[in-house]
């Protein structure tokens, strides 16, 4: 039995959330989007009947792998009405009544295709668990509302017990505590990492401001970091900050495009955004193995890039409006290449709008001359030098807004250790162009001494995947560019193929039955089956308006050949 997790009801929007989770899980298990969508509808229909606000319903999701044929088991439990499970009959193989922890429920079982089930890796299972355990926006909001209420209660207690002055101080402290508790404050945050460095500071104004920053490693190589400023002040701003931060982090675990991340975060926040609050955000993902930087600026102050050679560059592209203001828009992103010693400097308007006792603004020119004149020894130094300069300027004037500064230095890895070889190609969507890719890859493989086995497998994979894209992804006769990106390091070969065709998941179909006789065999889905078996990892994601397939082949046994 493999437990995949529990989907909880109870919150506003929970049924819709449950439907989405069941659908995504089933898409992975049945490889049939239509079936997944229908089953998710029926399940959410049943769930709606038994989920009661005060007594939340639940769906326990597990894979029963004990029998000859693996089965997906959904236990729907809740205090609601007696279920009319007849609606589930056409969609499930087994339906029975159960008692879970004394509560009555219905157990729905669905036999899975053997081939799909046997191809389930630990990683796929972990992905499904992540989907199921993911908190929906409504659940998060509800959690925050509860926290808000608890805070209100402690405010009330304070009101009764302390003097006016003490009370105000305490309230401010509580507000500050919420804000600060959401920030990573331990530096250096990744003491074992020598390939990049990060330092940040946030000095809150006396009132609670809406600044925040965050950073985390998505995987071994991808470092995600952001700085934002929530409109408004006080506890509502702190709550929106928490939601934004959480949405970014959960999305970034399986989406490596800042534009795509912010597009989704914006959709979540702007939907039912009655309070009309918004967030300015700058979010970047730095590949610390290569120095590749991708970023999206959503209405935030443009950051600065201080090159190792001393040149100061303002990253003044904007890729869309503030987050939370307009529903359904698609953000774009910019990219750049960092070299060893380059430092990115991010800040909020609390820096440039700091005022001296005479009411003059610190302004961006002053920041620029500081960044130009200072020779940064480290990220800590640049952050401290800039905030010190603001405090000097401000002198005894009161701090009007939060002051936030974050600096990231790309250091890079010593050559030879993390040596990375890259092959980048763009080809038009014509079948004969597959040869262009394979010829270039042959040359690349020869130069890098790739084993015959890996080289041949990869060429087959290119042939089958590119053929697939060219034959099925486009609905018009126009020319389209397909991008192929190959990265070879000492222990793995990673390939990314992306196209701007209609959304199409090549791995979303059932594996062919390879045990049939010659007369029975049909060729369909065989190419994809080969790809999945020859590669160690094969995944598909839709990134804004492109299909992206990522393949990884580990080279650990390379030396034996």
């Amino acid at each position: 039995m493999i437990e995949l997790g529990t989907i909880w009801g109870g919150a506003e929007g929970a049924v819709r959330d449950a439907r989405r989770k069941v659908r995504v899980t089933l898409e992975r298990l049945t490889a049939d989007d239509m079936v997944a969508s229908r089953i998710a509808s029926v399940t959410s229909q049943l769930f709606r009947a038994l989920d009661r606000g005060a007594e939340p319903g639940r769906i326990d999701v597990r894979l029963d792998d004990a029998g000859a044929v693996p089965m997906l088991v959904l236990d729907l439990v809740g205090a609601g009405d007696e279920l009319d499970d007849a609606v589930a009959e056409p969609f499930f193989d087994r339906i029975s009544k159960v008692l879970v922890d004394g509560e009555p429920g219905v157990r729905l079982g669905l036999y899975l295709d053997l081939a799909v089930a046997s191809a389930l890796s630990e990683r796929r299972i972990a992905e499904m668990r992540a989907v199921i355990e993911q908190k929906g926006r409504d659940a998060l909001m509800q959690e925050l509302t509860v926290k808000n209420r608890e805070l209100q209660e402690s405010f009330d207690n304070l009101r009764r017990t302390t003097t006016a002055k003490e009370r105000m101080e305490s309230e401010l402290n509580i507000g500050r505590d919420i804000q600060m508790s959401m920030l990573p404050l331990k530096f250096p945050p990744f003491p074992h990492r020598t390939d990049f460095a990060v330092f940040a500071t946030l000095e809150p104004a006396r009132e609670v401001g809406g600044d925040f920053y965050d950073f985390f490693l998505i995987d071994e190589d991808r470092f995600c970091f952001c700085v934002g400023d929530v409109s408004g002040k006080g506890v509502p701003a702190a709550l929106l900050m928490a939601v934004t931060k959480t949405l970014i982090k959960s999305r970034a675990t399986n989406d490596f495009s800042p534009a795509s991340i912010l597009t989704h975060v914006n959709d979540e926040i702007s939907e039912n955004n009655e309070s009309a609050m918004f967030v300015t955000l700058w979010l970047g993902i730095l590949d610390v193995s290569s120095g590749d930087l991708v970023y999206t600026n959503a209405g935030h102050n443009p950051p600065y890039l201080k090159r190792a050679g001393g040149e100061l560059v303002r990253l003044d592209e904007r890729h869309g409006p503030v987050v939370g203001a307009v529903d359904g828009l698609v953000y774009s992103e910019g990219s750049g290449q960092l070299s060893g010693g380059d430092v990115l400097f991010l800040y909020t308007d609390g820096v440039t709008e700091a005022m001296d006792p005479a009411g003059r603004l610190y302004d961006e020119d002053r920041l620029v001359s500081l960044l130009q004149s200072t020779d940064f020894g480290s990220v800590d130094e640049v952050v401290k030098a800039s905030t010190d300069d603001v405090w000097r300027f401000q002198a005894e004037a009161e701090q009007a807004d939060d002051v936030t500064v974050l600096a990231v230095e790309f250091i890079g890895r010593a050559r030879g250790v993390g040596d990375l070889h890259v092959l980048d190609l763009g080809i038009p969507n014509r079948l004969e162009e597959i040869d262009t890719v394979n010829r270039a890859f042959d040359e690349f493989a020869a130069e890098r001494g790739l084993s015959e086995r890996v080289r041949r497998s990869m060429k087959l994979v290119f042939d089958d995947l590119l053929n697939n894209v060219m034959s099925y992804a486009y609905e018009d006769e126009a020319d389209h560019e397909i991008q192929v990106h190959v990265e070879l390091s000492s222990d793995r070969l990673a390939v990314r193929i992306s196209d701007d065709g209609r959304p199409f998941n090549p791995f979303g179909r059932t594996a062919p039955d390879t045990a049939l006789t010659l007369e029975q065999r049909e060729i369909g889905g065989l190419g994809i089956h080969l790809v999945q078996n020859l590669m160690d990892e094969a995944s598909y994601t839709r990134r804004t308006d492109r299909n992206v397939v990522v393949l990884v082949k580990y080279l650990s046994d390379n030396a034996e050949e």
């Binding site: 053929n467 065999r521 190419g527």
Partner: protein, 108 residues
């Protein structure tokens, strides 16, 4: 792709790849063979670099055609990757695969 005939067995030798772009021609040549009533075909993969699903499709179609006319298809000299592809696709169980041309010709 080249062909030779000896003792009633047609030997087909591939050079390079059997993939999206080379499969149509290969299919044509095999169809010609089947159309001429050739029964026994041995495909030698010694000089084949790789085969993709487009190539497998050609082999499957050809084997079906030959069998329906009472003929047969044998394969030999699969490199490691081609052999792996045959394993994964189940083709190793539906085709008669031999290590060398000599062994393949024996008793054909």
């Amino acid at each position: 792709m080249s062909m030779s005939e000896s003792g009633g067995i047609t030997v087909v030798r591939f050079d390079g790849n059997l993939d999206t772009n080379t499969a149509p021609e290969a299919q044509e040549r095999f169809d010609e063979l089947a159309g001429q009533g050739v029964g026994k075909v041995l495909v030698d993969f010694e000089r084949l670099d790789y085969i993709s699903s487009a190539g497998l499709r050609v082999l499957l179609a050809t084997a079906k055609k030959l069998r329906s006319g009472g003929g047969n298809l044998r394969l030999c000299n699969l490199n490691e990757t081609v052999a792996e592809v045959f394993e994964i696709s189940g083709f190793s169980t539906i085709f008669a695969v031999f290590p060398t041309e000599v062994e393949a010709l024996e008793g054909f």
